[in-house]
C-alpha cells in the first residue's frame, strides 16, 4: 500500500485502516488475496461522491468524510452494556444472533438447540477454517461499488446461516448489530443466509446502539440465496444512534418458484444507505421489497434498490414511503432491469414521500430499464405535505395537531407495513414507527 497522497493533518490515510486492522481480519491465502484486491478497488475509487450517478444524492465525502478505524474487540464491560441495550430491543420468540462492535457475541446469542436443518457458524470461523463453498459465496459480491469493496476488504465477523432443503424454520432468526463505542470507530460485518430448496425462514436484522454510543460507523452486508420453491421473510430495522452512520448492502438471489418478502424501516442513524441488489435467477418467483423512512432533525437516509429480472415469469412489487420532518433528507432510487429474455415480467414500484416541513427533502428516482417486449411494468412517485382538509377534520373531532398528524402518518406508512405477512414482524414494524412518532411528541 504505497499510495502517496497529499493529506492534511486531520485526514486519515485510507490505507492505514486496512494496514492497521490486517492482523485481525480472518482468512489467509485466497481470502487474504481477495481482501487485498477489494481494498485496492476501494482505494482507487475512494469514498463515493455526488459525481458517481448511484451516489448522486448521498455524497459520502461531504456527509461522512472518512472511514473510521476498526473497532476494538469488545471486552467484558462492553458486552455488559450491549446486553443492557439488547434487553430494550428484545423480541419474543426469536433466535437471537448478536454482533457487538462487529464481533459475534456467543454469550448473548442463542446457538444451542438448533432446529433440524439449521446450521449457524460465524464468518470468522468460515473464513479461517476453510469450507470453500461458503467462502466462495461470501466472496460473490461485486466490488465495483466502493462501499461493497471496502466491506469485502474489511469484513471481520458475521453469521453464516444455512437452512437445509425442506426445512421450515418456525422461529425467526434475529441478527442484532449493537454498537458500544464511546469513542467513534467502524465495524465491518458480512453475513450469509443460504436457504435450501423448498425451505423457509424468517430473518430480522436490527441495528441498535448501547447507551452512550454515538458517531460510530456500521459497514454491513448480507448475502442471501433462496433455493427453488423456498421462501424468506425479511425485516430490517435501522434504529442506530442519531449520530451514527450505517452503510449496508444486500445481495439476494432467488431460484425457481421462490418468494422473497422484505421490509425495511429506518428511523435511526445520522446517515444511512441501504443498497439491496435482488436477482431473479429462476422462473416463477416473486419479490415484495417495501420500506419506510421516518426522518427528522438532519437525518439522511438513502435506499438504493436494484431489481434484476434476468429470467421470465417473475413478479416484483415495491412500496416505499418516506416521512420527513425538519431538515431530513430521504432518498429512494429504485432500478428495475428487465433483461431481453425476461418475458412476462410483472414489475411495479410505487414511492411516496410525505414532507412535514418546508426544509424537508425527498429524492425519488424510479428507473425502469426494459429490454423485453411482453412485460407489465409500472412505477409512480409522489411527494407532498399532509392534506390540510384531513387535518382539520381530525382536529374538529378533538385530536390535537400532533395527534392528527400522527394518525395520518401511521396511515401513510401503513400500506408499506401491511405487506408484512408475519403478524409478529408486522407488529414490530408498527411499534418501531410508533416509537418514532412518540419521540416526535
Amino acid at each position: 500500500m504505497n499510495v502517496a497522497l497529499a493529506k492534511t493533518g486531520t485526514e486519515r490515510a485510507p490505507s492505514d485502516i486496512f494496514a492497521v486492522a490486517r492482523d485481525r481480519l480472518p482468512g489467509a491465502g485466497r481470502i487474504a488475496e481477495a481482501r487485498r484486491q477489494a481494498f485496492e478497488a476501494y482505494e482507487r475509487a475512494g469514498l463515493p461522491h455526488r459525481r458517481i450517478e448511484e451516489w448522486k444524492y448521498t455524497d459520502l465525502r461531504v456527509l461522512m468524510r472518512e472511514v473510521l478505524p476498526l473497532a476494538p474487540e469488545p471486552d467484558a464491560a462492553v458486552l455488559k452494556r450491549a446486553a443492557a441495550a439488547l434487553k430494550l430491543h428484545a423480541i419474543a420468540g426469536v433466535r437471537r444472533l448478536v454482533l457487538v462492535d462487529g464481533v459475534f457475541a456467543p454469550k448473548l446469542s442463542e446457538t444451542a438447540d438448533l432446529e433440524q436443518g439449521l446450521g449457524i457458524r460465524t464468518l470468522r470461523d468460515v473464513l479461517e477454517a476453510g469450507d470453500s463453498a461458503h467462502q466462495a459465496q461470501l466472496l460473490t459480491p461485486d466490488n465495483s461499488d466502493a462501499m461493497v469493496a471496502l466491506n469485502s476488504a474489511m469484513m471481520t465477523d458475521g453469521v453464516v446461516i444455512e437452512v437445509a432443503d425442506n426445512a421450515v424454520l418456525t422461529k425467526p432468526l434475529h441478527i442484532v448489530h449493537i454498537a458500544s463505542g464511546a469513542t467513534p470507530f467502524a465495524m465491518f460485518t458480512r453475513s450469509l443466509l443460504k436457504i435450501g430448496r423448498a425451505a423457509s425462514a424468517t430473518l430480522v436484522e436490527s441495528y441498535i446502539a448501547a447507551n452512550g454510543a454515538k458517531a460510530y460507523q456500521v459497514h454491513d452486508s448480507l448475502v442471501v440465496s433462496i433455493g427453488d420453491g423456498a421462501r424468506l421473510d425479511h425485516v430490517r430495522l435501522v434504529e442506530d444512534d442519531r449520530d451514527a452512520f450505517n452503510i449496508s448492502s444486500a445481495m439476494v438471489a432467488l431460484g425457481e418458484k421462490a418468494h422473497f418478502s422484505t421490509f425495511g424501516l429506518t428511523s435511526g442513524s445520522n446517515l444511512s444507505r441501504y443498497q439491496p441488489v435482488i436477482t431473479f435467477a429462476g422462473e416463477d418467483s416473486r419479490v415484495e421489497a417495501n420500506g419506510v423512512n421516518l426522518l427528522n432533525g438532519r437525518q439522511h437516509a438513502d435506499t438504493t434498490l436494484l431489481l434484476d429480472h434476468a429470467v421470465p415469469n417473475c413478479a416484483s412489487r415495491e412500496i416505499f414511503r418516506a416521512v420527513i420532518d425538519d431538515r431530513g433528507h430521504s432518498v429512494f432510487q429504485g432500478r428495475i432491469i428487465v433483461r431481453p429474455q425476461a418475458q412476462k415480467t410483472d414489475a411495479k414500484m410505487m414511492t411516496r414521500a410525505l414532507l412535514l416541513s418546508d426544509e424537508a427533502e425527498a429524492d425519488n428516482k424510479p428507473e425502469l430499464e426494459i429490454f423485453a417486449d411482453d412485460v407489465t411494468c409500472g412505477h409512480g412517485a409522489t411527494a407532498g405535505a399532509l392534506d390540510e382538509s384531513l387535518l382539520f377534520y381530525l382536529r374538529a373531532r378533538g385530536l390535537s395537531e400532533k395527534e392528527a398528524q400522527a394518525l395520518l402518518i401511521q396511515a401513510f406508512v401503513g400500506e408499506a407495513i401491511e405487506s408484512i405477512a408475519n403478524d409478529g414482524l408486522r407488529e414490530l414494524a408498527i411499534s418501531a414507527a410508533e416509537r418514532w412518532l412518540a419521540v416526535r411528541g
Partner: protein, 250 residues
C-alpha cells in the same frame, strides 16, 4: 347565559369580506335553521365556529358558554362540545373508522380530564348507535368514509354526533346529495339527539330538510348578514317566494 353568542361577526377570506357583521344567539335546547342562497356565507359561519384555518375574523366575537370561542383551537372547541357535521366529510384512507372514533372520543375525554372509555363500553355504544342509523358493522371496519356513498358519509357524521354527545351541533347542508330515504334516516338520527341540554344549528339551502328537522327559529342569511329571523313559518314563506326579496333587502 346563551350557549352560543355570535356578535357582529366580520370575516374575510383572502382580504375579501364574506360576513359583514353577523349576530346570532342560540340557547340550550333550541334548534335554529339558517337558510340562504348560495354564497350568502352560511358555510363560512359554520367553518368559523368550528375553527377552520383560512378565515380572518376582522371584527366581532363568538362566545360559547360565555367564553371566547375564537381563542380556542379546533380540538379544544370539539372537547368543549362544539360539533360540526361537515357538508363534505373527507375520506381518510388507512385510518379505520373504529380506530378514528375511539381516538377522537378519547382525545375529547382526555382534554376534559375524563377517563378513557373502556373497550367493551365503547364497542357496545358504537354498535348501538350504528344500528339505529342503519350503518352496517362492515362500514366501521373500512377507512374513514372510504368508498362510502353520500348518504353513508352523512350518517357517519351523525354517528359521531351521537357518540361524542356535543352541546352544540352545527349541521352544514346535511341534505345535500341525499335522496329522500337517506334524508329521512339522517333526520331521524338528528331528531333522536334533540335534547334540552343541546342546541342545533341547521344550515340549509332548501326548506325540504326542515320538514324532517323542525326548527324553533329560522334565520335568513343574505350577503353575509342575517336579514330576517322568525319561526318555522318563515321557512315555508321562503319556499313560496324564494330568496330574491331578501337579496334586494340586503
Amino acid at each position: 347565559m346563551p350557549l352560543l353568542e355570535v356578535k357582529n361577526l366580520q370575516v374575510s377570506v383572502d382580504d375579501r369580506e364574506i360576513l359583514h357583521g353577523l349576530s346570532l344567539i342560540v340557547n340550550k335546547g333550541e334548534v335554529h335553521a339558517i337558510m340562504g342562497p348560495n354564497g350568502s356565507g352560511k358555510s363560512t359561519l359554520s367553518h368559523v365556529i368550528a375553527g377552520k384555518p383560512g378565515y380572518e375574523v376582522t371584527s366581532g366575537e363568538i362566545l360559547f358558554q360565555g367564553e371566547d370561542l375564537l381563542a380556542m383551537s379546533p380540538d379544544e372547541r370539539s372537547a368543549r362540545g362544539v360539533f360540526l357535521a361537515f357538508q363534505y366529510p373527507v375520506e381518510i384512507p388507512g385510518v379505520a373508522t373504529m380506530t378514528f372514533l375511539r381516538t377522537a372520543l378519547n382525545a375529547q375525554r382526555k382534554a376534559r380530564g375524563e377517563s378513557e372509555f373502556s373497550t367493551p363500553d365503547f364497542l357496545k355504544k358504537v354498535r348501538e348507535v350504528a344500528k339505529s342509523l342503519n350503518i352496517p358493522q362492515e362500514m366501521l371496519r373500512r377507512g374513514v368514509n372510504v368508498g362510502f356513498s353520500g348518504g353513508e358519509k352523512k350518517r357517519n357524521e351523525i354517528l359521531q354526533m351521537a357518540l361524542f354527545e356535543p352541546s352544540l351541533c352545527i349541521l352544514d347542508e346535511m341534505d345535500s346529495g341525499l335522496d329522500i330515504d337517506a334524508l329521512r334516516i339522517a333526520a331521524d338520527g338528528v331528531n333522536a339527539l334533540r335534547s334540552p341540554d343541546r342546541a342545533m344549528v341547521v344550515i340549509t339551502h332548501y326548506q325540504r330538510l326542515l320538514n324532517y328537522i323542525v326548527p324553533d327559529f329560522v334565520h335568513v342569511m343574505s350577503r353575509g348578514r342575517v336579514v330576517k329571523s322568525g319561526d318555522k313559518e318563515l321557512a315555508l314563506e321562503l319556499e313560496a317566494s324564494g330568496y330574491t326579496q331578501f337579496e334586494d333587502a340586503a
